[in-house]
Amino acid sequence: MITITLRYFASLREQVGRSQETLTLANTLTVLDIWRHVHQVPLPENTLIAVNMEYVAKSHSVCDGDEVAFFPPVTGG
């Protein structure tokens, strides 16, 4: 069993309606498949994805204990 934390930020957090949730999976999945598993709507184009606070590609597969974050393009500075 793989347990991961999902986090959402900024406009994506507002669209999703929550900032954080926990997910338990039987097998590892890619971060894109995790989105599809949890959400009805397709992953918005331009969404950035981080695992354990490092940017990853959509094809990145998660490990037990990972923190997976989805967020829109960054606008700091």
Partner: protein
């Protein structure tokens, strides 16, 4: 190397001088390149009343440390500072300050700009503006800073 994420108004010049008065730097740096980003009261043709800066705590620090480390590998830097504001911000308040100290000017100029562009592209901050009409909106995308 100093990285600070702050939740209240800060004085960029105080922060810079704070690093600079470290004795180790005395007489060694010939060049300081500084960038300060300040909140404007207009954006995309609209008057802006206030702004909220959200960030991904932890990842912000991690990304900024990585940017600094790369800058240090690429250029001869004696010291560098990043201070970035989060939370509720009003027009004319500083959002970010970057300062780079080096012996010669090309290193300071190049590294300061590099850090700023990388911060804009990779550090997980998001701006939500409150317009003069009290309508709020997320800033969708940072504009390019390179020519």
């Amino acid at each position: 190397m100093t990285i600070k994420i702050v939740e209240t108004v800060f004085d960029p010049f105080f922060e810079i001088q704070n690093v600079q008065t470290q004795l180790a730097l005395n007489g060694k740096f010939g060049a300081t390149s500084i960038f300060i980003g300040t909140m404007r009261d207009f954006n995309e043709g609209d008057e802006v009343r206030a702004m909220t800066l959200e960030h991904y705590e932890g990842m912000t620090q991690k990304q900024l440390e990585k940017i600094m480390a790369i800058a240090k590998e690429k250029w001869g830097i004696l010291d560098a500072l990043i201070v970035h504001r989060v939370g509720d911000i009003l027009p004319n308040e500083p959002i970010v300050v970057i300062s780079v100290w080096s012996a010669h000017r090309a290193d300071a100029f190049d590294a300061c700009r590099y850090i700023m562009e990388e911060l804009k592209s990779n550090a997980p901050f998001w701006k939500r503006e409150t317009l003069i009409s009290n309508q709020t909106r997320w800033v969708l995308k940072n504009t390019g800073g390179k020519n």
